[in-house]
């Protein structure tokens, strides 16, 4: 299997290719149709993960690799979730601090060079 490299029927590639086009079209439609709120964010994330999943699994052949490689490559990025969590807390804190000390943004003097 792996010794001869990753050889798979072309049909799989054409199918995923088509799917990526369709899902990209859907995610563009999310913007085009001006969907807002939770629905918009949910759809954006769903389409994003579907596309990313197909690219990694089929085009990058991860689906056919051994579990040891899958874990080594796909495991570490999970740590990014912690960074996202911490930085969103930090962002919210900074915004609150700014509002408290500078008040509304419209009252803030122009400070183009920090």
């Amino acid at each position: 299997m792996a010794a001869e490299g990753q050889q798979h029927p072309l049909k799989v590639y054409y199918l995923v290719w088509l799917l990526l086009f369709v899902v990209s079209f859907f995610s563009y439609m999310v913007d085009y149709l001006h969907l807002q709120g939770t629905l918009r964010w949910t759809l954006i994330l769903v389409f994003m993960f579907v596309k990313a999943g197909f690219i990694v699994a089929i085009f990058m052949h991860m689906q056919w690799e051994r579990l040891a490689l899958k874990i080594a490559i796909l495991g570490p990025p999970v740590a990014i979730l912690v960074l996202i969590w911490l930085m969103s807390l930090e962002g919210i804190y900074i915004e609150d601090t700014r509002l408290e000390y500078y008040g509304d943004s419209t009252m803030e003097p122009e400070t183009p060079h920090h």
């Binding site: 050889q7 990209s24 999310v30 990313a52 690219i55 490559i73 962002g91 943004s105």
Partner: protein, 227 residues
């Protein structure tokens, strides 16, 4: 040869297989070393792009000014109609097309069809170059409208620095990929790999890089342009 040695003990699957692979006192991953190294490089690159995107997220949360609407900032007027995000949509489709041609090139490489591999890789590179061209157009348009890394006329000042940083770094990756693909394509064509045992794994390794560039664009498209 070394791959055959690496693979001879790889029978067990599942978690038992993972333990086997790590405890064999040999090469752990049952793939050519170049491919394992490319994957590890891509893993490190994943963290770089994640840091940019998380940085963008935190400045967007922290700013008290309204964030410019990407839907309007990136709209183009075509035949008198303003179409939101249209150039970005075209760029997305171009990158997906190039990912498809690359996947086919990898397949043709393993079939040792050098001519088809060459042309598919050249097609991928041409699509990649046109993507960079459109990005240059996008940058020019935004710069002429007054978007700068320290401010812009549409809203929060952090918009410009996030935009130039993220799309610039991605564009740099695409440009490097175009050069990389062309080098490998011409080596495939002139028989460079025939002298090395006719092994076309290198096409797959180059393909991994190219698909990764497309993968990153999926996240940029979702978080920067659509969010």
């Amino acid at each position: 040869m070394s791959e055959a040695v690496a693979n001879d003990a790889m029978e067990a699957g599942g978690t038992e297989g993972v333990v086997d692979d790590w405890s064999r006192d040999k090469q752990v991953f049952g793939v050519p070393w170049g491919k394992a190294m490319m994957w590890i490089f891509l893993l490190s690159d994943t963290f770089i792009f994640s840091c940019f995107l998380v940085g963008y997220m935190s400045v967007r949360i922290a700013t008290t000014d309204p964030w410019p609407l990407p839907s309007e900032v990136f709209a183009l007027t075509i035949f008198g109609h303003s179409i939101p995000l249209v150039l970005i949509a075209i760029m997305t489709f171009i990158l997906i097309t190039s990912s498809g041609t690359m996947a086919l090139a990898v397949n043709m490489g393993y079939r040792k069809d050098r001519n088809k591999t060459f042309w598919l890789m050249v097609a991928t590179a041409v699509l990649g170059a046109s993507f960079v061209g459109m990005q240059a157009f996008e940058w020019t348009k935004l710069i002429s409208e007054g978007v700068r890394p320290w401010g812009n006329p549409f809203g929060a000042a952090q918009f410009g620095s996030s935009f130039f940083m993220i799309t610039g770094f991605h564009g740099l990756h695409v440009s490097a990929g175009v050069i990389y693909l062309l080098i490998i394509a011409f080596r495939v064509k002139n028989g460079f790999y025939e002298k090395r045992g006719g092994n076309y794994e290198i096409v797959e390794i180059a393909g991994l890089y190219w698909h990764f560039v497309d993968l990153v664009w999926v996240f940029i498209f979702a978080f920067f342009y659509l969010w």
